[in-house]
């Protein structure tokens, strides 16, 4: 039986205040549906026959249904069979968690996630050992890379069908775990401690509210809070450590840094110090009250009476390495028609001759 692939596309992602405060993009429902159709085409081309998807009431499935019906009526086999999970739709981010849990219980081959860092975080909190492939459609996209979804569909299909071996297709990732009085939350890119003791509109866009920051990785080319680490002391996704930044009032800070803390928002932050965060070592906070932002969104408020630790974990979950899968497929001629002779020999010869 061919493996089943799960898709989570939560329509509530990319709808927050950053569209006003920092000109972040709004990917329309119709375009999200189009992305899904391109993913489905990629999956079908690699032999995936069945896909399960998180249900939603915001119109994504309505668009899909039209395209799927048309393909079936035309006798085309462009898309796999699409089945919706049987779950209650709340129209909240929690739907992504419910769907991820159900997909893990079904033991799907992989979960493709549409969204930004926030949506991926919610999925990973419940997806266990199921490999994730991210398609960037959210606001803050340090975790999912920008890529044409057709290619993500192809790579996931190759991986789950076994055309690319697991040792090549899947990579391990770090994550941050936040323990609050015994309850646990996770973050894939960053945990920020901010002064405001309310969740409000969730997004963080005021640098003066930052107290400290933990990151799993940070690249100089990243967007969001992790760019602060990227511009000071970059850490790669697979490095066995993370970083912590302690902020200070820019007027008195030892040094100041301008960083792209959100899409369209380059702000100056005051830096007290930067430290390396080892794995499996619970770390306490330097402030007694405020709120905790996970991957760019305020989620939890806390005060002096709460016991909080942040711990970096290595090999916490797996993702599908799309470029590696596609390179493997290319070098192995997986997309070539095996009944015909490969053209590569003549190409190599003409290159050698300098033609």
């Amino acid at each position: 039986m061919s493996p089943v692939v799960g898709i989570i596309a939560n329509p509530v992602s990319a709808r927050d205040i950053r569209r006003v405060v920092s000109h972040a993009g709004n990917l329309q429902i119709t375009d999200r549906a189009n992305i899904l159709l391109r993913i489905l085409a990629g999956l079908a081309a690699t032999g995936v026959h069945k896909v399960v998807m998180m249900p939603e009431n915001a119109g994504i499935y309505g668009h899909l249904r039209r395209a799927l019906a048309r393909a079936i009526n035309n006798g085309e086999a462009r898309f796999p069979e699409l089945q919706l999970l049987e779950m209650k739709v709340t129209g909240q981010a929690g739907d992504s968690a419910t769907a991820a849990r159900m997909m893990r219980n079904m033991d799907v081959g992989a979960i493709i996630v549409l969204g930004g860092d926030g949506t991926h975080r919610v999925v990973v909190s419940e997806s266990g050992d199921i490999p994730i492939a991210g398609v960037s459609t959210g606001t803050n996209n340090a975790f999912p890379e920008m890529r044409e979804p057709t290619i993500t569909g192809l790579a996931v299909g190759l991986a789950v069908m076994g055309a690319v071996p697991a040792s090549v297709a899947f990579v391990d990732n770090k994550r941050l775990e936040v323990a609050i009085n015994g309850r646990q939350e996770v973050a894939l890119v960053d945990v920020a401690i901010v002064r405001e003791q309310f969740v409000g509109a969730r997004a963080i866009w005021k640098p003066e509210s930052l107290c400290e920051l933990f990151v799993t990785f940070g690249a100089a080319s990243s967007i969001g809070l992790s760019s602060i680490v990227g511009l000071l002391a970059p850490v790669e996704r697979q490095a066995p450590f993370g970083r912590r930044v302690v902020f200070a009032d820019p007027r008195h800070a030892p040094f100041r840094l301008s960083a792209p803390v959100a899409p369209g928002l380059i702000e100056e932050v005051g830096i007290e110090r930067v430290e390396t965060v080892p794995v499996d070592t619970p770390m306490s906070l330097t402030v007694g009250s405020g709120s905790i932002a996970l991957d760019g969104e305020r989620e939890i408020t806390f005060s002096d009476s709460d016991r909080i630790h942040v711990t970096l974990r290595n090999t916490a979950f797996r993702t599908i390495d799309v470029p590696v899968c596609m390179s493997f497929a290319a070098s192995g001629g997986l997309f070539l028609d095996s009944t015909k002779q490969a053209p590569t020999a003549s190409l190599a010869r003409s290159h050698q001759l300098g033609e």
Binding site: I17, V20, Q28, V199, T301, S303
Partner: protein
Amino acid sequence: MKMTKNPFPVSKDQLLEAYRIMRTIREFEERLHTDFARGDIPGFVHLYAGEEASAAGIMMHLNDNDRIASTHRGHGHCIAKGVSVKEMMAEIYGKATGACRGKGGSMHIADLSKGMMGANGILGAGAPLACGAALAAQKLGHKGVGISFVGDGASNQGMFLESLNLAAVWNLPVIFVVENNGYAESTSVEWAVASDSYVDRATGFGMPGITVDGTDFFAVYEAAGEVIKRARDGGGPSLLECKMIRFYGHFEGDAQTYRGKNEVEDIRANKDCIKTFQARVKEAGVIAQAELEQIDRQVLDLIEQSVVEAKAAPPPAPADLLTDVYVAY
């Protein structure tokens, strides 16, 4: 209880004021629910109970130069915009002391001195009015804004969509607030709204749209502050969708057979915006329970007094039938 530094984006006085507004709306509506069932009130009433955080969170950013156009479910907007509670009650009771001299009733309460251009029985009809107010503010240069409230159902009306176009074309300082309580009368959003996304509609007209949890005062306050400031600064129109829940039916007397079993009990227990607000401010150690209870008592007294005065007031006289109807330019 230990009192700590205020971690909220508003002062303690403003927090108390926000609570007073939300509590006043709630008690006003609860009282109407009772009095309407008893047959004391003429006409229809559509209650705003459960949706208070939206009106309070938005209106706290406004002044009397800012004008709002409300809906058929307008009591909350009126109270939050500063219309006299006693005049509102008298109006709903159809008395000559009412905000519109007892001739408008629930769906036509207005007070231009407070920037409240009126509740509106015609769905979607507030949107062009808010555009007009915004155009006036733009021409007069006083930095005022127009706010159009609209429900999820009325947002399908042509008038509303034409207003989005007009506001974008003229770069008007107007904010379209879609109060999405999930039902257009009894029809669920999923059945009646193409593409189901109000934010996408805004994008289609070239303005930003954002969605917030309309049951969270702080989420609404923060988001509304940004879109209103944007409009005052010349940044043009935007759309704010507040996802919310109504405690009662579309109108009083609605049997609500379209709602799930225990749906209302569940939201009253878990998604009550006033309970959430109380928990937050007490947990942060900024406001004590006794301070909230004092406001509760004052609000109940005000509502009771409003009803007593409304009942005692005279109805409009037959001679007043044609006054306040026509305006000479």
